[in-house]
Symmetry: C2
Amino acid sequence: MSADKEIELGTELKPKFDENGLIPAIAQDARTGVILMVAYMNKEALDHTIKTGFGTYYSRSRKKLWKKGEQSGFLQKVTQILVDCDQDCIILKVIVDSGQCHNGYQSCFYRALIKGTADQLEFIAEKVFDPSKVYEK
Amino acid sequence: MSADKEIELGTELKPKFDENGLIPAIAQDARTGVILMVAYMNKEALDHTIKTGFGTYYSRSRKKLWKKGEQSGFLQKVTQILVDCDQDCIILKVIVDSGQCHNGYQSCFYRALIKGTADQLEFIAEKVFDPSKVYEK
């Protein structure tokens, strides 16, 4: 197989990190299929996730490894790791106890575009926790 | 509200395109919740998607607008557009007639990491069409 075919149709994980050394990773609720969040991993974060079984990312704002839930306690227990055809994106199928968005929602995707508009959003979810209590510490 | 709060908790779509003018977009099957593919949109692709109701991306390799399915005929009919808290990622909920991966699978995420290994993948899906027939034209 050619190198490209090997990446697309082979059985070796060869994640394609971008020019910043990052790959996007989607956390998807393993039970409901709801997409909870999208974040980025560097190699260390991916290795840490595989090794520990808990969703771990690289925080671009804090410039450091970020074990999801280290502050809130709302960890992501990883049940499966998927990779796409050209290996430039990852899905973590995760089991979570509580909301994953720092704004208090189960998913970061709590708004949808109102049909017939170009830029008007509506909230499609209710908060599942109070972020002022979870993050006040 | 501060500008950051407005982005996170407001009702105006203000997508945060990256330094290359792109935002990642996840196509998720509206009926099954399966994540079909992840691609990138520039402003034109997002506007085109909103206006036409069909998933349209920006092809980074071909450097041009890419209406998904323009070659295969396997279009993505968009039923809902979601945005995440900091508006740097989009989900298209889509209805599709056939496989979305150019390798013949329903989803681009047709491989999973074998548990207990660091880099060994297994195929978790069967092909739903023959790419050599669809793309031979």
